[in-house]
Amino acid sequence: MADAAAVDHGHVTGTGLSNNKLLMWVFLGSECLLFGGLISTYLIYRSRYADGPAPGDIFDIPFTSVSSFILLMSSLTMVLSLSALQRGDIRNNRVWLLATALLGSLFIGGQVYEFTTFVREGLGYTTSPFSSAFFTLTGFHGIHVSLGIVMLVSLLISSFRGTLTKERSETVEIVGLYWHFVDVVWIFIFTVIYLVPSPTS
């Protein structure tokens, strides 16, 4: 293991890596177990739809494809906002941060629309094990996205205050890591839950 000292914001760290960034990656490692549990629960229960709609009956793939694409593009805008700040381009940093927050909000809006539609079509939270597992999994994901939006807005506010400078780009990077992870979880969910053929009643 490298024991050569390297500089991180004025501190010496054994690996030469930033404490904060390492912390975020450590956290993301643990999040894999969280989402894995929710996804597994869904997979076990997807065929147990009681008297309610089955997944194959109710999913609206075209709609969800659009919102998935939106979230995917928000990862692009996120990384563009980071790259702008790393260049010292404060203005574009703000533009892309705002874009990411907006795309994320659009995704959440899409989720809300999708959920309310499902409820109207007879798939409530308590309808069946399938429904509980579906809404819990996607709900947890949605909460993660929402918290991400809160962080993005906080960064925006910080930027308008003038405290989000090029030297602090690591903060944007770390929020970005969280954001991309949440996107990556959706990549998994979209494929495995929506696109992989599901049971129909």
């Binding site: 004025g10 390492l22 894999c32 894995g36 790259s83 790393q86 990556v184 494929t191 696109l195 992989v196």
Partner: protein, 107 residues
């Protein structure tokens, strides 16, 4: 006292940053793959074929977001190790769980 004027980790100086154009290209590829994935919904392909194909495309997208957008390709291997550790452990443990529930055979 840490100073804001001091350079961000020397790591940054050492490794490259992709250009914005690069990022956009990656995003286009991801978009295309997503479109292909969605296309499978509209075409009648037997599950035995479509499922591995979908999973492969998913892994592809996963990898590209992690490698490029999350910068793992350019960063210290330590970060990749933590992420892979979590992923691998989750896959293993939950894979066993799904097996005990006969998910692969009974769905």
């Amino acid at each position: 006292m840490s100073t804001t004027t001091e350079n961000v980790a020397t790591q940054d100086a050492a490794h490259e940053h992709p250009t914005d154009a690069r990022y956009i290209r990656v995003a286009i590829v991801l978009g295309v793959v997503t479109a292909l994935e969605v296309a499978t919904y509209f075409v009648n392909i037997p599950g035995v074929v479509v499922i591995p194909v979908l999973l492969a495309m998913m892994v592809f997208k996963f990898f590209y977001v992690a490698a490029w957008f999350m910068h793992l390709r350019f960063d210290s291997p330590m970060f990749t190790k933590f992420f892979v550790a979590g992923l691998a452990l989750a896959t293993l443990v939950y894979g066993v769980l799904l097996t005990v529930f006969e998910f692969w055979t009974k769905g």
